[in-house]
Symmetry: C2
């Protein structure tokens, strides 16, 4: 088992991320973080049948209540957050109750937001069961739900007591879900670790075959990068850089997700396409060389990720939803772009003509066409 | 103008509470705290006609959007919080938007919670227009909404950029609202300042006649006490004392409010009755002398506040809803009781027989009868 400690700035206490195989077989990992005698296990209809009994078995003396959400990004809503609150209130749970989020990014974000708001802050443990959640969603304390107008528009910064990433849970994943998680793994290489990117280029086949050592290393490296970024800028206050760099490709991705009602793409798939678009714009601005762009296209392709937006995306839809991005200031969009592989930068002064050219190239009128 | 600085622990930046007459005539007070060029003015249908144009007039160059909630504690709901979020999203407001809460405690709590959650934290300015909000609700960073199962069950700790308490707004208050605010003013004397309590005994008539000097002094003293308590314990983490002491009478009060669907009593009225109940229990436990209890009953009576719960409250209803109190730990209620006038203490080991005797005495079977 690897343990990575997350220390989000001076404001918040440190907490551990445990990574390894078999962690859901060991009560000693979870139990110390559930201290109030009551737990609310939040999962979804896909994950609960696989792992809920296992987690319940680790909680010997606890009262354990359960909420199962429907599966899918379109269910990451304020209504489902309210369902969890209702269950907590109806069962007369106190503030010392621990909410345990068992599932992918959607479960973690909705349950985390409910924990943040219930009695202004109940306990929270994240047990991510997808690659994407293990490398990104469960770590760092962003919680929230989507709004018709934009992704993650409602939420809170709220840190869990611990994160338990049991790599065994990944064996049950759809291949499509695994690929989507790899998009976020590749992102860490792109924004801050050229060596890790090169390692990913060499080991992509092993990752797709789910070789345990390769997966564990990819997760560990990703969490270490996320920990370092979050420690420097817990609440995304740093104007140019800091936590915002984790959003490489995300302004494009969130626009696609919101414009298509969160149904067409997995989050990681949207991030893959968004990253290619960010790379394209970086090249148009003279920041990124053609060789680097080709390497990015190649690795995304080998990971089996989509290369273009769904056909329904138009330039206008991109622009409308990109303006809702949380990085915008004074109505001005701020994009994360690449200077080279391993180095990203927030650009408020990106080239508007270049952006339009990128959007045209990636939408149905452009050279790539839709998917 | 008096300025009191609130510094909620090491975690959060300090912010000012401005107290005085005519503050809504002076753009220099508000403007420095609205820096993003966009404001969302949240008020209610009673307060907006009185002051919204005045506030809008202070915001010269800003885009100003408006949401008006219905008036009343029963509208402090997650649905109304979502209405504010919808308005922010539909108008494509960025995270640098400032939410301005103009109204009483309900507006401040709902708008504050919306600001806390919108894009995980927009700007917030509190302009309280009731005495209760000026001395309590707007100061200290508790935001939230009610749930059928309990008062303030959903919310966030979220500090405003500033609080502007213009005493001129109090001239438009119903006398009933003024009296409700006095209950929270009296509370500060009871929990930590016997001298202030004595001053209130002497000056109650002036306060009820709304003499400016007396009101300003009462508000200033109350805010200074709240600032000191919040500075020591922003998030109510201190087990026995700290911020929880501000909840004198509130466990009883919240139970009445929730059991009666937030319609029967103003919050301050419920606090007045709850404080008498806490005093009664403190006497039964031998903590508080009969003379002190009589002084508390006398000042509450002179302030024109109710002395007993509505007739619909039963012992069973009290117990059911008191268990939902956020101070409960491991299912055990914790009550704030009085050792003497000017000194409160959190009691987890209160006398259960005494509590039942107090509940019986204050409900329809008891000596006092209902109102």
């Amino acid at each position: 088992m690897q343990t990575i400690t997350i220390k989000p700035g001076v404001q918040t206490r440190a907490y551990p991320v445990f990574i390894g195989a078999g962690l859901l077989r060991d009560a000693q990992v979870l139990q110390p973080f559930v201290d109030g005698g009551t737990a609310m296990l939040v999962s979804n209809e896909t994950v609960a049948p696989l792992f809920a009994d296992k987690v319940r078995g680790l909680l010997g003396g606890c009262r354990v209540y359960t909420v199962n959400l429907p599966d899918g990004e379109e269910h990451k809503t304020l209504d489902n957050m309210a369902r969890i609150i209702d269950a907590l209130a109806e069962n007369r749970c106190g503030r010392d109750t621990t909410v345990i989020a068992l599932g992918g990014g959607v479960v973690g974000d909705v349950a985390g937001f409910a924990a943040a708001c219930y009695q202004r802050g109940a306990g929270l443990v994240q047990i991510p069961t997808t690659l994407l959640a293990q490398v990104d969603a469960a770590v760092g304390g962003k919680t929230g739900v989507n709004h018709a107008a934009g992704k993650n528009l409602i939420g809170a910064f709220y840190q869990p007591r611990c994160v338990i990433a049991d790599t065994d849970t990944l064996h049950s994943l759809d291949q499509r879900e695994l690929r989507a998680g790899l998009a976020e793994v590749i992102k860490y290489g792109l924004i801050r670790d050229a060596g890790f990117f090169a390692w990913l280029e060499e080991n992509m086949e092993k990752l797709l075959r789910r070789e345990s050592d390769a997966l564990a290393r990819a997760i560990e490296q990703s969490c270490r990068h996320k920990a370092a970024v979050v420690a420097a800028d817990e609440k995304e206050n740093t104007a140019d850089g800091g936590r915002a760099l984790l959003n490489l490709g995300h302004t494009f991705a969130h626009a696609m997700e919101a414009a298509l009602d969160y149904r067409a793409l997995l989050h990681g798939e949207a991030v893959a396409v968004g990253t290619l678009m960010a790379a394209d714009l970086s090249r148009r601005m003279g920041w990124l060389g053609g060789g680097d762009v080709a390497r990015i296209e190649k690795i995304m392709g080998e990971a089996g990720l989509p290369a273009s937006p769904p056909a329904a995306m138009t330039v206008e839809k991109f622009l409308r939803f990109m303006q809702m991005d949380k990085k915008s200031r004074g109505g001005k969009m701020r994009l994360v772009l690449l200077k080279e592989i391993g180095r990203a930068q927030v650009a408020a002064d990106y080239d508007a003509g270049g952006l339009h050219a990128t959007l045209r190239a990636f939408t149905s009128g452009g050279r790539r066409g839709g998917v």
